[in-house]
């Protein structure tokens, strides 16, 4: 085997490994909480089990979480959330599937907050809606911090609020996402 062939083989192997390298980031413990502020009461719930994979090559991102894993201050509220509003038995998950635009501008070496625009489809209670939101990413030694906040309207996702509790539940609910993504090793 001549030297040229050997070198090109090595380069190819190297490229192959590089192609497979840490271009994807993930978490299984993403934090998602929501906040509803209405005249009669404020409601907050949190979920620490969101799964997310972000592909830095294409900018594609996917998030999935279990509705039943949201925890509330009041146990009964949590029961009603699952039973009456979200019907988590029928629709166990909420998902987001989309793209972070201009992801190639992300500089992994710069350990500071960089802002991007994410667009995609948010699916809650089986109802899909196009959404876009601004996302901040901060690469660091302990992983990449990803943060975003957006608004969800219950009526957009077929979540019916009866008149008796109309003043207890906000028409626009703020959703906060905080994730620490780690390189996905294979």
């Amino acid at each position: 085997m001549n030297i040229k062939a050997a070198i090109s083989l090595l380069i190819c192997l190297g490229l192959h490994a590089w192609g497979m390298a840490q271009d994807k980031y993930f978490t299984r413990k993403g934090e998602v909480d929501f906040f509803s502020s209405a005249p009669l009461e404020d409601i907050r719930a949190e979920n620490n089990g969101a799964m997310c994979v972000l592909d830095l090559n294409s900018g594609k991102v996917e998030v999935s979480l279990l509705i039943a894993s949201f925890s509330f201050k009041k146990a009964l509220m949590q029961e009603h959330f699952n039973e009456n509003y979200m019907e988590s038995g029928k629709h166990p998950k909420a998902t987001f599937k989309g793209v972070v635009e201009d992801i190639e501008k992300l500089d992994l070496k710069k350990q500071e907050t960089q802002t991007f625009e994410a667009k995609g489809v948010l699916s809650i209670k089986g109802v899909e809606r196009e959404v876009s939101t601004s996302v901040t990413m901060k690469p660091g030694k302990a992983g990449m911090e990803v943060q975003t906040t957006f608004i969800v309207k219950p009526e957009d996702h077929d979540i019916k609020i009866p008149a008796v509790v109309r003043d207890n539940i906000a028409r626009e609910i703020e959703v906060n996402v905080n994730m620490n993504l780690q390189p996905l090793e294979r």
Binding site: D55, V61, A75, E83, V164
Partner: protein, 304 residues
């Protein structure tokens, strides 16, 4: 000497393979994380509240939650217009239930019927679940004690305070069969320290059955029935049958029902029911349940 053409082709395929990988991943990025850890999902909201009508349901008050219960039974509806179909009379029970943990609840109550104080402990032994840990039923143990505080009928006699006590023990075995349908069985025993006549039994065994049918998200139809073999019951006593609706509005549950029992604790409705449904000896009544979160348990760490 290796054929450079062949080598080139092999390299091309090799180098192109990441691209092929990328194509496969079009499906779902989340698949890369592998299968999710199996989780145990517990059946919740089998009933709207911890009572069916008079009887305990298989639900427990959540940890740290205080449930204030106000229950009324009006007079018999066959008492006519003069009594405005029973609405002029009322038998009342005021109660407080508390969830010590998610599986243990305790409660106290005071009924106007025989000026009775009652206390109970209810422990959930098995919990219906699916997923990693599968359990087809929920099983609970209920023990109640009642103290009648009416003035002694014969104060000149030697009276023992223990004569006022009665106990009831019950197993509750139930299953939420579907989103809208729950059924439970309640084998029960009632013990009375003092009975009225020598013919009356101290221990009465009864089998109860209760269920819930959800009509809408917030309204459910409940029913319960207790069968005790007639020769066990005191003369003139009947089996208890109750049918009612649960209406839930956030923190409140309103239960509106019809029952032939006046008493609202186990010892009373299992052994001291006198009404006959067929004669119209039916009480209209309601329970109001209002829950307060008085203590918030620390959320359990989620296992990944």
């Amino acid at each position: 000497m290796i054929n450079p053409l062949k080598l080139g082709a092999a390299l091309l395929i090799f180098c192109a393979s990441p691209a092929l990988h990328a194509q496969e991943e079009e499906e779902s990025l989340l698949d890369l994380l592998g299968d999710e850890d199996p989780k145990t999902e517990y059946a919740t909201a089998s009933f709207k509240t911890t009572r069916i009508v008079n009887s305990h349901s298989l639900e427990n008050t959540h940890h740290g939650v205080l449930d204030v219960k106000i229950s009324h039974r009006f007079g018999f509806i066959n008492s006519g217009v003069y009594e405005i179909f029973g609405l002029d009379q009322a038998s009342i029970r005021l109660g407080l239930d508390y969830g010590v943990t998610d599986w243990l609840m305790v409660g106290l109550g005071r009924s106007s019927f025989e000026k009775t104080y009652d206390g109970f402990v209810k422990a959930r032994i098995l919990r219906q679940s699916s997923g990693e840990r599968k359990m087809p039923i929920t099983l609970s143990w209920l023990s109640t004690m009642t103290i009648n505080t009416l003035r002694w009928a014969y104060p000149e006699r030697v009276n023992f305070s223990t004569s006022r006590y009665a106990y009831a023990h019950q197993l509750i075995v139930g299953r939420k069969f579907s989103e809208g349908f729950t059924l439970q069985l309640m084998p029960s025993v009632v013990h009375r320290n003092l009975v009225a006549t020598a013919d009356d039994a101290h221990d009465i065994f009864a089998m109860g059955a209760g269920g819930r049918l959800k009509l809408t998200k917030r309204i459910a139809l409940n029913a319960e029935y207790y069968y005790a073999h007639p020769n066990q019951l005191d003369a003139g006593r009947r089996n208890s049958l109750s049918i009612g609706f649960d209406i839930e509005t956030g923190g409140h549950v309103f239960q509106l029902h019809f029952s032939n029992s006046t008493h609202m604790v186990e010892k009373g409705f299992i052994t001291e029911t006198t009404g006959n449904w067929l004669d119209g000896d039916i009480h209209f009544g309601f329970n109001i349940s209002r829950v307060f979160t008085v203590h918030r348990p620390k959320p359990k760490p989620v296992n990944y």
